[in-house]
């Protein structure tokens, strides 16, 4: 009887140890939070745009095709690094990319896009970060895949790398 009772805590200890090791080994990043908006419709918003003299209206822009939404700013270094991949989405893959210019200077952003190339079909201006909060964004760059029904299917926090570029392309193909 005594031995049995002493065994129990040891067994529990090893189970906990196993769970910890399992969580360590599997490929996951605990600091990356899955979006609460996955499989939900895009938040509706209206905003000024960078290039067009037209207001940006989410109800007009989303739906009908797979769309990438990319939060960026000129002051954000990783945004510059991933810009080449954003361009490849638009040019090589023919995907509509909507840019959201986060807490930025409009003039600087226009200059930045003229210099580096503008992959965005339109750029909404998020001057005070309110649109970002509606999308659950907490650090830029962030990129979302929205399906043809206007539902958010994927979210990537941080700059897009070559590896991530491939993965996002794969996901887009699956969604299509």
């Amino acid at each position: 009887m005594k031995n049995q009772f002493l065994k129990l805590p040891i067994i529990i200890f090893f189970i906990i140890l196993f769970i910890f090791f399992y969580l360590l080994i599997i490929d996951r990043n605990p600091s990356k939070v899955p979006s609460a908006l996955l499989n939900k419709s895009v938040p509706s918003f209206n905003a000024e745009t960078l290039f067009k003299n037209k207001k940006f209206s989410s109800s007009e822009e989303f739906g009908g095709q797979v769309i990438l939404v990319n939060f960026f700013a000129t002051w954000c270094k990783p945004c510059r690094n991933e810009h080449v991949f954003i361009k490849r989405f638009a040019e090589d893959q023919n995907i509509k990319v909507i840019g959201i210019n986060y807490k930025d200077d409009a003039e600087k952003a226009i200059e930045w896009l003229k210099k580096l190339g503008n992959p965005y079909s339109s750029v909404a201006i998020d001057k005070n970060g309110k649109i970002a909060i509606d999308w659950g964004v907490y650090g830029i760059p962030e990129t979302f895949i929205v399906n043809s029904k206007g539902k958010i299917k994927y979210r990537h926090v941080g700059a897009i790398t070559a590896k991530r570029y491939k993965k996002i392309n794969q996901i887009i193909k699956e969604i299509e």
Partner: protein
């Protein structure tokens, strides 16, 4: 000797007090309505700063924390209940934004396992005592 020790203790306590009061709320954020401000502070203390390690937005000086503090204050001024503000935030950022995980089916283990462990521990100790009492009597 005693006086010196007392001095040291008091100075340590004073440092502690100043640490307790440290927070990141900036003067321009503070609401004129004190009741609203207290509510905003209470909510802010329960909201995780997503880009920091285990800090509430009340403690954090990051820009997203500031945005959320301002948002909470404007929601309060618009007449939203605390519950509605928490719902607004979890709808966008998920339960992760709450520093205290809510009691849900997927967090039952998290909330109740400590009690189970405590119970097991008590049983083990009781059993052990019983055995050793028998041994002493022998």
């Amino acid at each position: 000797m005693f006086k010196n020790i007392l001095k040291i203790i008091i100075s340590i306590l004073l440092v502690q007090i100043s640490l307790i009061n440290s927070n990141a709320v900036e003067p321009d954020e503070i609401l004129n309505n004190q009741k609203y401000e207290i509510r905003a502070r209470e909510i802010s203390k329960n909201i995780r700063c997503m880009v920091c390690q285990n800090q509430s937005i009340d403690d954090s000086s990051s820009s997203i924390a500031r945005d959320l503090r301002i948002l909470i204050r404007s929601k309060i001024e618009e007449g939203n209940e605390d519950k509605e503000i928490y719902k607004f935030l979890t709808k966008r950022y998920g339960d992760f934004i709450l520093l205290k995980p809510p009691l849900k089916t997927n967090t039952i283990a998290l909330w109740f396992l400590p009690f189970v462990f405590l119970l097991v521990g008590i049983l083990v100790i009781l059993n052990h005592n019983k055995k050793s009492n028998k041994f002493i009597k022998k």
